[in-house]
């Protein structure tokens, strides 16, 4: 029983990271119908900026988060403006390829920047090794902090989308671009902001992930596990991304403990195949049909 509880907490906390990366996918997908394969690499870059602020400049943890998220938001907007906007209107897969190209560039650039390179780094956190005993179950504070911070971010995002002008404009843009244009929303600029928001969320995920996998140039490949998360939840659904991420995280933790070695790595992909077989558009996905 205590094993199970610990596994669940560990699974949910790694699921939170998947959920945040998946959230980034979904935000961009909903707005521009682009599947951003570079999301994991945005996360990696965000973690490296956090590393710079925290280790090289010696800033406190919270300032580090703000710094990395802000820088990455700017990077995200720049990517949209320079690379994504010129190819809007081309077939979806072409645009996917361009994001793969961006991912290559980011991964390469990180290894070439002096001080970053190919080594593995660690970002110090205020809750390093502490544990919290709850009724016989020993829970690492690290994992609880990840869960709490993710919940806080989700709440903030919910309020943002629900109550601010720009949040509502973003929702409108993702539902129907043409109608949004008619209502006077500057759709292109809103798209740019959505990329910024998504990159910021990715940086946040990177900072949360840093204590688990450490910071290195290939940590972005975790984005490939966030894909199943986004698909399980239904690619166009924000709550779906969160739920999907948690499902993948928990399944992975359980598979790692109860099933033979090797199943942990493929668990996410087996889940996504099963879900796609049963519900091709995911759990929360909307099914739409083309009218001829």
């Amino acid at each position: 029983m205590t094993d199970l509880a610990q596994l669940l907490v560990a699974g949910i906390s790694s699921g939170c990271v998947y959920a945040l990366v998946a959230l980034g996918f979904v935000l961009i997908y909903k707005a521009t119908e682009t599947v951003n394969f570079a999301q994991g690499d945005l996360m990696m870059l965000g973690a490296f900026f956090a590393l710079t602020a925290s280790v090289m400049l010696g800033w406190p943890y919270w300032a580090t988060i703000v710094f990395a998220v802000t820088v990455m938001a700017v990077v995200g907007m720049a990517i949209e403006r320079l690379v994504i906007r010129p190819v809007l209107g081309q077939p979806a897969f072409t645009v996917v390829m361009i994001t793969i190209g961006i991912g290559y560039v980011m991964r390469g650039v990180v290894t070439m920047v002096p001080g970053w390179g190919t080594e593995t780094y660690q970002i110090p956190t205020p809750f390093a090794e502490a544990v919290l005993p709850v009724g016989g179950v020993v829970l690492p504070v690290q994992q609880l902090a990840v869960i709490a911070m993710t919940a806080a971010l989700c709440a903030a995002l919910y309020l943002f989308f629900r109550f601010t002008r720009i949040g509502v404009a973003m929702q409108a843009t993702s539902q129907n671009q043409l109608a949004a244009y008619y209502m006077g929303i500057p759709v292109r600029r809103v798209n740019m902001m959505i990329w910024g928001l998504s990159a910021g969320v990715a940086a946040f995920a990177g900072i949360l992930l840093a204590p688990v996998t450490f910071v290195h140039s290939n940590m972005g490949f975790i984005g490939l596990k966030a894909f199943p998360a986004a698909v399980v939840g239904g690619f166009g659904s924000v709550p779906g991304a969160i739920v999907g991420g948690l499902i993948i995280g928990v399944v992975e933790a359980l598979a790692g403990y109860y099933l033979p070695e090797g199943f942990k790595d493929v668990a996410a992909y087996v889940v996504v195949l099963v879900v796609l077989m049963i519900r091709p558009s995911g759990i929360f996905g909307e099914t739409m049909r083309k009218k001829v």
Binding site: E33, I102, V105, G108, V266, R289
Partner: protein
């Protein structure tokens, strides 16, 4: 500008539309056949790899370029072909039996992977094939009694009539033959009702099925055919490299394979060859450029950056790929003073929704 006036139905059936085509392709074939005479050992190795990658390119082009089904899992087919060939070759099965066997087995796997494709579209299909690739890679790493796991396994060289096809001469001809046959198979398939059905599915599934195209059947055929070609390429790759292990068939390889199609030009068979040549030659060029790099920079990083930038630039400025560039140049000469800049321009739009399809 050449105008072809067709006077008989036989003219419609010919492989080459006019004498000029026959001449140039014949010249290319002659150059390739005599390559061992004029090319050095280094160049021969590159040619072998280009031939192998071209076969994958043809397979992927049929699936992605002509049927419109995206696959991020072709490295898995490559793995199935490579491991089948390695196991058969170790048991002394002659190559003329083992190659078709590898192709058939890979095609069967392709049919299984194609099954979800009947229900999935666009990005969901890409994710499903991606998941398939990861699972196959993991199976190859864990099924140690057959694949020797992460330690990898050596592959026996090709034996033909009791003689080993050593070096590049004999093996080069085997690869060239396979590539030419694959090309002919694709060209002929595209001229047949099956190929027309593929293109119809690519352009619109709704209109294809209302014209009587059986979507399930043709998508499955396309997956099987594409997988079979990739399986053959995998078998040849295994022989060429001489040693296979699971990480040679990772997701990154799948992405590299799909860039062959994108860089070459989606929807052109020529593009598959050009893309394959590009993907093979680029790392060689970069390894020369590496020497000029300042101290302390990782060369692998440079390769990723250059590759990524080229991919991005090609998609932005040349959406039709390398072959599209050639088409534009050719059209410019054909129409000499009358070429307009907008002739190949795609209609821009703020967003063409693909959600409703």
């Amino acid at each position: 500008m050449r105008f072809i006036f067709k006077t008989t139905y036989e003219q419609d059936l010919r492989l080459f539309r006019h004498g000029g085509q026959a001449f140039w392709y014949g010249l290319l074939l002659a150059a390739l056949v005599t390559a061992p005479l004029w090319a050095g050992e280094y160049l021969m190795t590159q040619l072998v790899f280009i031939a192998i990658y071209s076969i994958v390119g043809f397979g992927l082009m049929m699936l992605t370029g002509f049927t419109g089904q995206v696959s991020l899992g072709h490295a898995a087919f490559l793995a199935v072909g490579a491991y089948t060939e390695a196991l058969l070759a170790a048991r002394g099965v002659p190559v003329f039996v083992s190659l078709p066997a590898a192709a058939l087995l890979t095609a069967a796997v392709g049919v299984i992977v194609g099954l979800p494709a009947l229900r999935l579209k666009g990005i969901y299909l890409a994710i499903a094939t991606l998941a398939f690739n990861v699972i196959v890679e993991e199976i190859a790493a864990r099924w140690e009694s057959v694949t020797h796991g992460n330690a990898g396994m050596p592959v026996a060289p090709v034996k033909l009539f009791g003689r080993e096809l050593e070096g590049d001469g004999g093996f080069y001809y085997l690869c060239l033959l396979a590539a030419v046959l694959a090309c002919l198979a694709c060209v002929n398939l595209l001229r047949s009702p099956t190929g027309r059905a593929f293109v119809a599915i690519r352009d619109s599934e709704v209109s294809a099925s209302s014209m009587g195209v059986n979507l399930a059947k043709y998508k499955t055929i396309s997956f099987a055919f594409s997988a079979a070609l990739t399986g053959i390429a995998g078998a040849l790759y295994a022989h060429k490299v001489g040693f296979i292990s699971p990480e040679q068939f990772s997701l990154l390889v799948s992405i590299e394979l799909i860039t062959i199609v994108i860089l070459g030009g989606v929807g052109f068979l020529h593009g598959a060859v050009l893309g394959a040549a590009f993907v093979i030659v680029l790392p060689q060029v970069l390894s020369i450029a590496k020497d000029w790099l300042p101290e302390g920079m990782a060369p692998s990083g440079l390769q990723a950056v250059v590759f990524g930038i080229i991919l991005v630039l090609v998609i932005i400025f040349e959406p039709m790929g390398l072959y599209g560039r050639w088409l534009k140049i050719r059209t410019w000469f054909e129409l000499f003073p009358f070429y307009r800049r907008g002739m190949f321009r795609r209609q821009r739009s703020y967003l063409k929704t693909e959600r409703l399809r």
